[in-house]
Symmetry: C2
Subunit: 248 residues, 2 copies
DNA sequence: CAGTGGTCTAGACCACGTC
DNA sequence: ACGTGGTCTAGACCACTGC
């Protein structure tokens, strides 16, 4: 059973998407919503906090909440998994392991992954049959066996690891920039050497903060873009840039 | 005066960064924290929710919270403003308007910005004296006069617009990808034509959802990377990728 | 089983916007 | 002045973890 505030959030979301609360209009007051749903104001606040974090509604102290957008931005939702992202957008996705081997951890890898031997995997991913992504992933040794058990042409490694080993990718840190294609990248992706690639480097951990993988993913330019929505109110990270905590 | 929960969050954050609560250790229970700070449990929960959203701590029902990371990831905090990001990282930043003119809105601009004439600005931004960013920004006409009043070499337009017009950039939607440098980009940034650039396209609105600007920013490769931290629990957008639950 | 976080209630006061 | 959202309190019950 979903929590009360989740059901209220879902109803409000449906009302927004369905046009009951058009973009630009005011949401009913928290007191009104509490009365309508026979819930305490705190519960209603939890519900609208969900919508605010999604960027659907804005808020200012003293004024009614305002509906900001109708469409859902799912884009960063699938940040962890290329396959899950592609599927939820209706694309045909493929993958193939090019090379895979165990080796001792090098340089910062031991510290990052907390293991002294690692599993190194090079994968080529396709979208609608076109190669778009070269993945260089390094797995911690506690998960290596499970990764090796995954078929070479598996679509979603994330999904496979969840199914076979119960591993949930819970936290991620991502670094996005642009690089020029090297010889190997160029050959795999079918582009000229030096052409632009979007690089996503990430480290992923479980709930407990146990590192699972460290990956360097390179996307052919034009194939994929990352989208982010942020807001002063919804994302606590933003707050600090705005005003106070600077020189401290 | 900052809110109680913000001060508690700040103290806990300092304790984590300062090593009082090392990475991997358990945070004190909510009841303990409530007693220590003489606050209600709800207030403590607000505080730790801030830290969870920052990716500093994780949580699982029934178990103590766990410290996930020590360093602060402010990077996306300053996503809205190049100057604010650069300053908070201790960089010298500069800027120069290359071209600026009013013109009729083209194509999708009218719909995106909600105005039929726009102010088109081309800016070159520098970091430590090196050109790193070409900004092509289109402002809605209601803000155009305020933008034109900003000096051509102003460091932070965001700050200037807040100071002179009281405009707060509250919401943003961002699209990140890689492109090849065109002739103009290459000349301005001092790179070869065709070399990789990190492109950030964004639309920014006020609290009320009123569009302020639409911008196409291109960073020289190697000069800047965007960093994101996300988690199943802290970022509701992520949730949909993983599996079950909704709110938070 | 006891402890912990997740949810919910029913109040309260305050800061801010709007009129 | 009044309504609104922002904050805070002091309880309660439940689901889950860990022993």
């Amino acid at each position: 059973m979903a929590a009360r505030y989740e059901r209220i959030a879902a109803e409000l979301r449906d009302d927004i998407v369905g046009g009951v609360h058009p973009v630009g209009s005011q949401l009913p007051s928290e007191a009104d919503l509490a009365a309508r749903y026979s819930a305490a104001r705190g519960t209603v606040r939890q519900a609208v906090a969900v919508l605010a974090a999604e960027g659907l509604v804005g808020s200012r102290q003293g004024a009614r909440r305002i509906v900001l957008g109708g469409e859902r931005s799912q884009s960063f939702a699938e940040l962890h998994s290329f396959a899950q992202w592609a599927r939820s957008n209706g694309y045909r996705v493929g993958g193939q392991v090019i090379a895979q081997r165990r080796r001792p951890a090098r340089g910062a890898e031991a510290g990052r992954l907390g293991s002294d031997t690692v599993l190194d995997v090079l994968r080529l991913r396709t979208l609608e049959g076109e190669p778009v992504l070269v993945e260089r992933t390094v797995y911690a040794d506690w998960i290596a066996a499970a990764v090796e058990a995954v078929p070479a042409d598996c679509e979603s490694i994330t999904q496979a690891l969840y199914d076979t080993a119960g591993v949930v990718f819970a936290y991620g840190e991502h670094l996005l920039d642009a690089v020029a294609a090297g010889t190997r990248d160029a050959a795999l992706l079918g582009v000229r050497r030096g052409s632009p690639l979007l690089r996503q480097r990430r480290i992923t951990t479980t709930h407990e903060g146990r590192p699972v993988e460290w990956s360097d993913d390179r996307y052919r330019a034009g194939s994929v873009a990352f989208s982010v929505r942020n807001s002063i109110g919804a994302n606590p990270l933003i707050r600090q840039a705005g005003d106070l905590r600077f020189g401290a």
